[in-house]
Symmetry: C2
Subunit: 188 residues, 2 copies
Amino acid sequence: MGRWKPDARGRLEQAALELYGERGFEQTTAKEIAERAGLTERTFFRHFADKREVLFPHANPLRESLVTALDSVPVTAAPIDVVAAALESACGLFAERRELARQRQAVIDANTELQERELIKLASLVSALAEALRRRGVADPAAILAAEVGVAAFKVAFGRWISQPDQHDLARLVRDTLEELRAVTAGK
Amino acid sequence: MGRWKPDARGRLEQAALELYGERGFEQTTAKEIAERAGLTERTFFRHFADKREVLFPHANPLRESLVTALDSVPVTAAPIDVVAAALESACGLFAERRELARQRQAVIDANTELQERELIKLASLVSALAEALRRRGVADPAAILAAEVGVAAFKVAFGRWISQPDQHDLARLVRDTLEELRAVTAGK
């Protein structure tokens, strides 16, 4: 312990998800996470404010990536296509993280308080996307509806991606799910 | 105080919404609500477990009404049309309650904890609708997507209804918003 090894944050995250899965989120302490990762508790608190922040990082890379991607789509595209392009581009964030995402989801599904936190995170994605669309001149209700629909499709696609081992391509699942959503909404 | 008057629950609700709006939700006590309604604190607690339950009744009439309405739509209808019919039919619940709904929303918008509670309530509507669709033989992802889309449209329509004094017909706004959602999703 104490000696420097690369990627302390990544090791802490992995150790935390293992322990949350084995013992439950409530029953795991920061000290135990640090021990499992071969690091000190002090190092844990240099990277995370508390054990919940392992699951919900203060900086929200998904939200930032979505807004950045959205701002770079040509202004001529329809709002839903802008949202789709942003969502597909953000999928790169998860490329090497499917097992971590699966573990994280299992921890969240087992804890009501964490489920609430996840709902808040998703609602903040909807707000950020709608706001970015409005900045591009998309009026309401189109802006809020495109954002709601996009996040709903992403959520369903993400659930399929982590639960279906034969589905490797998250971006493709997002595209397919949006296509299904289109068909459902059209009444087909 | 103490003498029986009709509709204690309704008077308590009205008094609570007034006080939450005037002083803030956190700053209001059950005792003050009862006093404003001309009733005893004991009567308050016969109707509500706590002051939050005034905003989020334990029995969720909207969810129950949606599921009942959904179960009575012909099985031949497309999932989205089933959801639309259920949502429109549930609008009757709010017929005489626009001012109360407006006050309630203002209280919720001013308080993070209440916003979280509202997200949970909306998520439980999505689950209930999706589950009722599955019982009718609708497979996933169509069931969950139709439920997500329906609740998103309802949320937006409800926001318009309580903020736009010239819009009186919630069911019509739900229909219009679903139509706009259809156009947005189609990429128009």
